[in-house]
Amino acid sequence: MTPNLYLWLIPVLPLLGAAINGLFGKRFSRQTVSAIALGFCGAAFVMALWIVSQYSSLTLPHVERLASWIRAGDFQADFAFYLDQLSFVMLLVVTGVGFLIHIYSVGYMWEEGGFYRFFSYLNLFMFFMLTLILASNYLLMFVGWEGVGLASYLLIGFWFTKDSAASAGKKAFIVNRIGDFGFLIALFLMIKHFGSLSFEPVFRIVSGMPAETAGAGLLTAIGLLLMVGAAGKSAQLPLYVWLPDAMEGPTPVSALIHAATMVTAGVYMVVRSHVVFDRAPQALMVVAIVGTLTALFAATIGVCQTDIKKVLAYSTISQLGYMFLACGVAAYSAGIFHLMTHAFFKGLLFLAAGSVIHAIGGEQDMRRMGGLRHHIPWTFWTMTAATFAIAGFPPFAGFFSKDAILWKAFSGEHGSWVFWAIGVFTAFLTSFYMFRLWFLTFFGEYRGETAVAHGDEHVHAISGSRAGAPAPHGHGGIHESPTIMLIPLVILALLSICGGWAGGERFDKFLSPVLHAGVTANSLEEVGTATPVSEQKEHGASEGLLESISVLAAASGLFLAWLLYHKRPQLPQEIAHALGGFYEAVVHKYYVDEIYAAVFVKPLIDGSTRILWHGIDRDVIDATLDNSAEGAREVSDAVRHMQSGNLRSYAGWIAAGAAAVIAYMVWTGTR
């Protein structure tokens, strides 16, 4: 018997923190505010750890029902929480990384106005994120889903006096809403066909259905719609546009929400719904394609970005693409594995980047950095760990998870060499742009002063000539971040290094009750994904080969980056010139924002104004009314003119009327 775990407390604790800080935080000192925020967030983390300690005594999945939420007819949705291995992993990642970033934020935000507001939002985010991963039904999951969107909106727009920040927040929310639209429709389909949104009954019913191998059906539709939702939240093509803009938010926010946790919610949701996807191969295929393309697409953009956070943002999109690729080839555990390691190293990358930015007084343009490794060694070393992790060098965490994905993409039931090839190429690009960032930031000479003095185009040339000495400036020069910020960096660096040592297979085994439970329960003919062990043995010979190829790709990325940005810094300029228009397109992110604006936003606004508001409302409906009123007035005027004031006219009317009456009556009488 599983003891009562008070699962509901886990999300509610941060909520309390958010409420207290939000309502009364204005009167609290910064110390109190941070104590409250850290306390409640930490409490959630502690609870998660406590649950870990109970692990052996748990029978998973474990459901705790708190109260009824909505009931309409036979449809019901509860405040109920669900714990299984999958949510277990997510719980640990979210509370752990979340707590670390909370700690980091205290240092990072110390000088900022609206300190209490920031922590209130952050705690609110934790509440929604935990709700999302602990929900036992899709509706409650949707609560968290929308809620994290809200928190993201609030935090991106934290510096609301900046127009770009406010716009970015709004953009994030609206684009997310487009995804949510798909999610909602999926929910409606489930309600209509399954009568419930709770995981257990839904999955029970779905696992009784045959796989839609022959043609698209209900499950494919649900799967695709869920994918639309996931694409919105996890910034996949074509809905990724909000994430780069979201970097307007404070850096801890980028780390927590837009790298480690929230954006992975889509992956979590897809994995959670794997029962559906398993039976909808077309949907799965779409997931894989979207993931792959996104990974490649974002990586190419990442190559040319100069804003340190933007690079990381595109990198995040790209890595999320990997995760979807994993899901798309039914390698869910690999996806989750990568999710976890990504949380470590990408969280770390952002925090470190934040530390860099912090160190040089708010500058984010990499072209104005350089040579910082001596000034901020802790940051440098932790970031190095993260960079190697994301690039996929063994034995860093990223190597294991990325490798698991690539291997599955190649060998899995739903895999294909195309996915693998693109994946490897993306891995090369990843390695390249990450090391580009690494070299530009930490190596060479500091370019801050001179870069400011000269125009943007000459940056590379100047950095090549190494003109001018590093002139530290900002808050009393370039300085290492305070300890409170470094602690999370170090912890995450350790995790980035060791986080993957468990290995994909062990991780897969841990999650298998979740991922294969539904399948093994009615192991029928189409359970191809249910035999991972035998499969691996089959391809065992080639796995080592593939691993070495991907390591090679990472290494060549490193080499190329070293070549271009450390050894011969003038070369990128020449290459850019050689590429011409293509380079321009990449620098401008393939003009996607501009295209969206021209194709969707502007027609919508113009159409609404001109056609709907002015056209229909004013010129058709109101004009019709006004015209009929005017017509009535004219008729009225005509009636008025019967009243000429002339007595004889009046008599004329009467006589005419009398004649009519007489005529009618004579007619009636003789009829």
Binding site: S644, S649, W653, A655, A656, A658, I662
Partner: protein, 178 residues
Amino acid sequence: MLHLFVFSMFGLVCVAGAVNLLVQRHPINSALSLVVVMGSLAVEYLLLGAEFVAAVQVIVYAGAIMVLFVFVIMLLNAGVEDRSRGSRVAMLFGIPGMLIGSVLVAWVLLERSGTGNVAVGALPGPPKVIGWLLFHDFLLPFEVTSVLVLIAILGAVVLASHPASAREASSQPDKREG
């Protein structure tokens, strides 16, 4: 035959008087035409046997009422009608309406009144019987006419008297006049 002749002759006189009333442009002429109409009507009444009615017609109508008319015409010194712009409605709707109505009614009266001929003095109305009816069956209407007459007197007093206030009117014009 004589009956028809007398009827027709006075009928024609009657209609001629009526038409003359319309044609004449001086009110006095019109009034005199009306007197002719009334006189010839009295003859028609006699033909129908309504001798008392005929007498009263001459005395009251022609004698009293028309005198009143002539008096007022003289009092107000009414002259020839000026040819002011007529009313189009009266001409366009009123006259055709009148014509249509008349034709229809005439048709009904000629074809559908369903009555035969009447002899001379078909229904004698001696004063005694009339008087009985007036003071018995029609006592109430008779009495009520007194109220009518009272009102008429009052009205005449109110409207035609007080030349002072009428003069006041010209010095204190209503705003519609101003």
